[in-house]
Symmetry: C2
Subunit: 189 residues, 2 copies
């Protein structure tokens, strides 16, 4: 028998995306976004939801571009800091010692120290209520060579990303291999 836990924004897992933007003075900023995910394969797109009150919101509206950076668990402290501090008050790159790199493809910076990054051009903006959803077309995906597998694809166990649990608000590591997708399901007759 299932019990109602009331209307909450809880699903498992949610991602921890670090979103890179430039402000009007071209100062790089980053913020943490857990409300988002891939949303289209062709054109390849990713969706992010931000509150209008955030500094990054205005940056995306103005520049029509952003990066999505996947931090490793080694940078969980910085990833959390990026979500609890506003770029209006702090230069988050200088306070953390991380390095902004200007994208060649879109008008936004990415985080040099984070192993996997997506460069995105704003495609759609959808007002939903407290959050605005920005949908970006993925112009390129870049990764450190150290996190690629033998097929040249990013290996989640080398990236060591962070999974977020809403509700109790805890960060978790990615665990063990469970199964090969588009394969194990064939065992159901």
């Amino acid at each position: 028998m299932k019990k109602s836990v009331e209307v909450k924004t809880i699903v498992f897992p949610t991602p921890v995306f670090i979103v890179g933007t430039y402000d009007e003075e071209s100062k790089p900023n980053v913020m943490t976004v857990a409300w988002g995910g891939l949303c289209c394969s062709d054109p390849p797109c990713i969706a992010l939801s931000l509150r209008k009150a955030t500094y990054s919101y205005g940056n995306i509206v103005e520049r029509e571009a952003f990066t999505v950076n996947i931090p490793s668990e080694a940078h969980v402290k910085e990833a959390d800091y990026f979500g609890i501090t506003s770029g209006r008050k702090k230069d988050k790159f200088s306070t953390t010692g991380l390095t902004p790199v200007k994208s060649d493809l879109v008008d936004a910076p990415y985080v040099k120290e984070f192993p996997l990054i997506l460069e995105c051009q704003l495609l759609h903006t959808l007002e939903l209520g407290l959050h605005t959803q920005f949908i970006g077309k993925i112009m390129d995906v870049k990764a450190d060579e150290t996190v690629l597998d033998e097929a040249g694809l990013p290996d989640i166990k080398k990236v060591n990303p962070i999974a977020f649990s809403p509700g109790n608000r805890i960060y978790y590591k990615i665990g063990e291999f469970l199964a090969q997708a588009f394969s194990i399901g064939r065992e159901v007759v």
Copy 2:
């Protein structure tokens, strides 16, 4: 130095959502969706992207409702099967022995055996290209009492959800506790 891995839909982690719908004959169906995520806190909303070719696409358009079911790792085989089989050809509940339960709140079924479920009313439909994004208002969240923590919130380590790695297409478990969110970041001065 980062290397381009070309334009791909890869971020880590993505969720494994099992989406429940009714077809025109009120037969319950489920499909697997990894392109999606929470997208608004107020009203509380979740976004899912489906290809028009799927059976569930038409079901959501007609019924304007769906459920999002979070499977435990123990059901990884069924979760994968739901993604590689069409409800046009198979009754996925009868082939897996899982149990559809009619929601009292929305015109869609949920999966009794999955520990955490969201009942959603369709709010927005956005054509993106190969995928259509459906945004549903979360009308209630229900969980098995066995997966709740002391505060009455769903505990990700009791739910044991599946994390999906696009690209190499592998399912992973959720790993160890990493840090408390909205807290560890305060250590950055």
